[in-house]
C-alpha cells in the first residue's frame, strides 16, 4: 500500500494537495524557514548587546531587528507551530478520521499563511519596520517612518489563515470522531487543540479589526487613537491585548497537550486526573480572555481595573498549576524512559514552571510597576514561549517524526540537542530576569555599563541555544532522506496514530477503527515490579 508520501512526487502533488498530512509538512517547512529568519534577528540583537554601546548596528537597525524577531516569531512561527503542523497532522489520526472536515479550506489556510508571511517579510526586511510586534499607537499610526502598513497587511492575511484553521479543527473534532471515540476518551492533545482552535476563532478577528484600524488611522488620518482628534491611544492597547493575551494561550495550550502525550508514553502510565487536566484546558482558554489588562498596569488605567485584572491573572494561573501537579503525579510508580522527546518534555515542565511563577510576580500590582517593560518581562515570556512552547514543539517533532517521515533519527543526537537547548536556554534567559529586576528596560539598543556582565552571559547562552537548534536541523534533514525505516510504533505508545503504518497511508485508516478504551490505556499488568 502506498504511503501518503508516495501518493505523488511532483511539485503539483504537494502544492495542490488537500491531504492534511501533506499540508502539515508544508507548514513544517514554512515555519522552519520563518524560525531561522526570526532566529537570525535574535542573533543580531544579542550580538549588539554584548557591549553596552557597541553600535554594532545602528539604533534604527536594532529596532528593526527586534521587530523582525517578534513579528516573525509570534505570528509566523509560534502561533501556527503546534496547531498547524501537529494539529493538522495528528487530529484526524488521533480521532480516527480520514482528513479534516474541510480539506480544501485547509489548503487555502496554508496559502493565506504564505501570502501573509511573504507580505510581512517584504515589509520587515526589504522595507524595515521599527514598531515592535505591539504596534503601539500613536507611534505606529503617526510617528513611525517605516513600512508599518505592509506588515499590518501581512499579519491580517495570516490572521485569516488562523481563523480558518481554527474553524477546521473545531468542526473536525465535533463531527469526525470514530465510533466509540467519546469526548472523555479523547487524547488530551485533542482537547488542547480543540480549546486552542476556539481561541483562534474568537480572538483573531479582534486582532484583524485592530490592525485594520491602525492602518486606517495611518493612511486616512482617522485619528481613532490620536488624542489631538479625540482619539485614545489606550483604546489600541485594550484591543491589542484582548487578542494578544489569549494568543499566549494559543501558543501554550497545544504545548501542554503535547506534554500529556509525552509524559504518559514515556512513563507508561495513564494520565493522572484526566478530567481535571481536560477541565483545566478549557478553564485556561476561557479565563485567558479576561486578563488582557495586566499588560497595562502602568499605562494609565484605573486602579480598580488594575485590581480586577490582577486577581483574574492569579486565577488563570491555577489551572496551569493543576496540570504541572498532574504531570508530576503521572510519573509516580511509572516506568520512565529518558528518550529524546521525553527530555524535551521534562525540560518543558521545568521551564514552564519558572515562566509561570514569574507570571505571578508580574501579576502582583506593586511589583509589576517596577519590572514591567523591563527585561524581567522579556525573560518571563521567553520562558513561556521558548522554554515552554518551543521545547514542546521540539518534543512533538521528535516524538511524531518517525510517524510523519517513516524514518528514525539518531537518538543520541536528539538527547544531546534536548540537553543543549535546556542549558542554553537557562543561560540566555535567567540573566534577563536579573537584568529586569535591576532595572534594565526592554527594547534598549544601549544600556548602562553595570548591566554588561549579565548581557554577556545572556549572549553566550544564546550561542549555545543557537547550536541546540541547528543540530536538529542537521540530523533531522539527514534522517528524512537516509534515516533507518521507522516501525509503526517505535515508542510503544498508545493512541490511534500508532496503530497504523509509518508513514501512514493516504487515507489514514483502511477501516475506520472502533474505540472501546480510554486514552493512555497503558497496561497495568506489566506495572508490577
Amino acid at each position: 500500500m502506498n504511503t501518503y508520501l508516495q501518493a505523488g512526487y511532483g511539485l503539483r502533488s504537494w502544492l495542490l494537495t488537500t491531504d492534511h498530512k501533506r499540508i502539515a509538512l508544508l507548514y513544517l517547512v514554512s515555519i522552519t524557514f520563518f524560525f531561522f529568519i526570526g532566529g537570525g534577528a535574535a542573533t543580531l540583537i544579542r550580538l549588539n548587546l554584548v557591549v553596552p554601546d557597541s553600535g554594532l548596528i545602528s539604533a534604527d537597525s536594532y529596532n528593526r531587528a527586534f521587530t523582525i524577531h517578534s513579528v516573525v516569531m509570534v505570528w509566523f512561527f509560534l502561533i501556527p507551530s503546534i496547531p498547524a503542523v501537529f494539529g493538522n497532522f495528528l487530529l484526524p489520526l488521533m480521532i480516527g478520521a480520514r482528513d479534516l472536515a474541510f480539506p480544501r479550506l485547509n489548503l487555502l489556510s496554508w496559502y493565506l499563511f504564505m501570502a501573509g508571511g511573504t507580505v510581512a517579510l517584504w515589509g520587515l526586511i526589504i522595507g524595515g519596520v521599527d514598531t515592535g510586534w505591539t504596534f503601539y499607537t500613536p507611534f505606529s499610526t503617526t510617528y513611525s517612518n517605516s513600512h508599518v502598513v505592509t506588515v499590518l497587511t501581512g499579519v491580517v492575511i495570516a490572521g485569516f489563515s488562523s481563523i480558518l484553521t481554527g474553524l477546521n479543527l473545531v468542526v473536525t473534532t465535533h463531527t469526525l470522531r470514530a465510533p466509540g471515540m467519546v469526548w472523555m476518551r479523547l487524547p488530551l492533545f485533542v482537547w488542547a487543540i480543540y480549546a486552542t482552535a476556539l481561541i483562534l476563532i474568537l480572538a483573531t478577528p479582534i486582532l484583524a479589526v485592530t490592525l485594520i484600524l491602525v492602518a486606517a488611522d495611518r493612511i486616512g488620518g482617522l485619528g481613532l487613537f490620536d488624542p489631538r482628534f479625540g482619539g485614545d491611544p489606550l483604546l489600541f492597547q485594550h484591543l491589542f491585548w484582548f487578542y494578544s493575551h489569549p494568543a499566549v494561550y494559543i501558543m501554550v495550550l497545544p504545548a501542554m497537550g503535547v506534554i500529556n502525550e509525552l509524559v504518559t508514553c514515556f512513563s507508561r502510565r495513564r494520565i493522572f486526573g484526566y478530567r481535571f487536566v481536560a477541565a483545566a484546558t478549557l478553564g485556561i482558554a476561557s479565563i485567558g480572555f479576561l486578563v488582557w489588562g495586566h499588560h497595562m498596569f502602568v499605562a494609565g488605567m484605573s486602579v480598580y481595573a488594575s485590581f480586577v485584572f490582577s486577581i483574574l491573572t492569579f486565577v488563570v494561573a491555577v489551572p496551569s498549576g493543576v496540570k504541572v501537579y498532574n504531570w508530576t503525579a503521572t510519573l509516580y510508580k511509572g516506568r520512565v524512559q529518558f528518550k529524546a522527546p521525553m527530555l524535551f518534555g521534562l525540560g518543558f515542565i521545568g521551564l514552564f514552571v519558572m515562566g509561570g511563577v514569574t507570571g505571578l510576580f508580574l501579576a502582583s500590582l506593586a511589583f509589576d510597576v517596577h519590572v514591567t517593560d523591563t527585561y524581567f518581562v522579556v525573560a518571563h515570556f521567553h520562558f513561556i514561549m521558548v522554554g515552554g512552547t518551543v521545547s514542546a514543539y521540539m518534543g512533538a517533532l521528535h516524538f511524531w517524526w518517525p510517524k510523519m517521515t517513516g524514518r528514525m533519527y539518531p537518538e543520541r543526537w536528539g538527547q544531546a540537542s534536548a540537553v543543549l537547548i535546556f542549558a542554553g536556554f537557562l543561560l540566555t534567559f535567567l540573566p534577563q530576569y536579573l537584568l529586569g529586576w535591576l532595572g534594565m528596560p526592554r527594547r534598549y539598543w544601549h544600556y548602562p555599563p553595570e548591566f554588561q556582565v549579565w548581557n554577556v552571559l545572556s549572549s553566550a547562552g544564546a550561542s549555545v541555544l543557537a547550536l541546540g537548534y541547528l543540530l536538529p536541523l542537521a540530523y533531522l534533514l539527514w534522517s528524512a532522506f537516509f534515516g533507518p525505516p521507522a516501525p509503526d510504533n517505535p515508542w510503544g505508545a498508545k493512541g490511534l496514530e500508532w496503530t497504523i503504518p509509518s508513514p501512514p497511508p493516504k487515507e489514514n485508516f483502511v477501516e475506520i477503527p472502533h474505540v472501546d478504551e480510554p486514552a493512555y490505556n497503558y497496561g497495568e499488568e506489566d506495572s508490577h515490579g
Partner: protein, 337 residues
C-alpha cells in the same frame, strides 16, 4: 548607579522601594513553596521510577479527588495573600499626596523636560530634594513614553493628550538612573540619564544655580536678536536659509558630509565660532564667523539660549499642559525672553 562589579540587587532610594523589595522576597518564598515541591517530586519520581530501576510499582493511583482539590486551592490561597499585599501597596501609591513639590514633565522623542516650581528647567536629568514628597505631572508631546526610576521601583507611562502623575519621597541622596521604559522610536534607549536626589540645602543651591542659567539664557535671547542671529534663524522670510534652532539642542543633526552628530554644548559653540566646520545637511555655508566678535561670556549666553529653546519645545497647542505650564511663548514657543 555608580555600582561596579556584578549587581544582584538594585539600589533602593526610598522606603517605598524597600517595601517593594520585601514584596519581592515574599513572592520568591510563596512561589518557591508552590513550585519547588512539584519540581523536586518530578525529578525524584523520574529518577526513582526510571525504567530498569527496581521499585514498588503496585497499584498506582489514577486519580485522587482530595489531592486534586488540595493542589488547586492551597497554592491559590497562598498566592492570594501576595495579591492583597501587592494591590494594597499599589493603591496606596496611586493617590497623590496633598503636599509636595510639583514638577512638570513634558516628554518628547527623545527627551524628558522638567520644570521646577520656581521656573528652573532641566533636560533629561532630574534633581529633587530628599525627604520631601515630589509630584511629577507628566504629559507627552508625541508618542507614549514612560518615566522609570528603578531606584524608587516606580514607573508611569506618559501619554499625549493626558496628564499622568507619579509621586515619591526619596530618602537617600545619590545619583540614580532615569529611563524611558515605553518603546518610543529610534533613540528610546538614550532618553533620560540621571536622577539626582540631593540633600534639601544642596537642592536649594542647585535651584539658585539653575535660576542663573535661566537668567543667562534670557541674556542670550537678547543677544540673539542684537547680533543678528534671529534675522536668519528665526525669520522665515529671510533670503538666507538657516536651520531653525527650536528643539535642536540634544537632538541628532544630520550633516552635509553624511555624519550625524548630537547637538551638545560643544556643537552649538563650534557652530557659532567655526560655522564652516559642521554644515547641516540641506543648507549652505552662509553663516558669518563670530570668532573675535563675541566675548566668551556672550558665547556662553547664546549657548544657554539655544539650549533653552530645546527645553521650551517646538510645538504648542498639541498638548494639554501641566498646571504650571512648561511651554508658553511665541515663535519657538516658551523661549526665554
Amino acid at each position: 548607579m555608580a555600582m561596579s562589579g556584578i549587581a544582584f540587587w538594585p539600589v533602593a532610594a526610598s522606603s517605598y522601594a524597600a517595601q517593594i523589595d520585601w514584596l519581592f522576597v515574599a513572592l520568591v518564598v510563596v512561589t518557591g513553596a508552590i513550585s519547588v515541591p512539584a519540581i523536586t517530586a518530578l525529578v525524584w519520581f523520574a529518577v526513582k521510577y526510571r525504567e530498569g530501576n527496581p521499585a514498588d510499582r503496585r497499584q498506582p493511583p489514577q486519580r485522587k479527588v482530595w489531592l486534586e482539590i488540595g493542589w488547586t486551592t492551597v497554592p491559590f490561597v497562598l498566592t492570594l495573600a501576595v495579591f492583597v499585599w501587592a494591590a494594597a501597596l499599589y493603591r496606596d501609591h496611586a493617590d497623590l499626596p496633598a503636599e509636595g513639590l510639583e514638577i512638570s514633565v513634558v516628554a518628547k522623542q527623545w527627551m524628558f523636560k522638567f520644570q521646577h516650581p520656581g521656573g528652573q528647567r532641566e533636560l533629561d536629568e532630574l534633581h529633587v530634594p530628599a525627604g520631601q514628597n515630589v509630584k511629577l505631572l507628566m504629559t507627552s508631546q508625541d508618542v507614549i513614553h514612560s518615566l522609570f526610576l528603578p531606584a524608587l521601583r516606580i514607573k508611569q507611562d506618559v501619554l499625549p493628550g493626558r496628564v499622568t502623575a507619579l509621586w515619591f519621597k526619596a530618602d537617600r541622596p545619590g545619583v540614580y538612573h532615569l529611563h524611558c521604559a515605553e518603546y518610543c522610536g529610534t533613540n528610546h534607549s538614550l532618553m533620560g540619564t540621571r536622577f539626582v536626589v540631593m540633600r534639601p540645602e544642596e537642592y536649594q543651591a542647585w535651584l539658585t544655580h539653575a535660576g542663573e542659567d535661566t537668567a543667562l539664557a534670557a541674556e542670550g535671547g537678547r543677544l540673539f536678536r542684537e547680533v543678528g542671529c534671529s534675522g536668519c534663524h528665526e525669520n522665515r522670510n529671510s533670503p538666507v536659509r538657516a536651520p531653525n534652532l527650536c528643539g535642536v539642542f540634544g537632538s541628532s543633526v544630520a550633516l552635509a558630509d553624511g555624519r550625524v552628530v548630537v547637538a551638545d554644548e560643544a556643537y552649538i559653540r563650534d557652530s557659532i565660532l567655526l560655522p564652516g566646520r559642521d554644515i547641516v545637511a540641506g543648507f549652505k555655508n552662509d553663516m558669518p564667523n563670530f570668532t573675535g566678535k563675541l566675548t566668551e561670556a556672550q558665547v556662553q549666553a547664546l549657548v544657554a539660549y539655544v539650549k533653552s529653546l530645546a527645553l521650551a519645545g517646538d510645538e504648542v497647542g498639541r498638548v494639554q499642559l501641566p498646571p504650571n505650564g512648561l511651554a508658553a511663548g511665541s515663535v519657538c514657543r516658551g523661549a526665554v525672553r
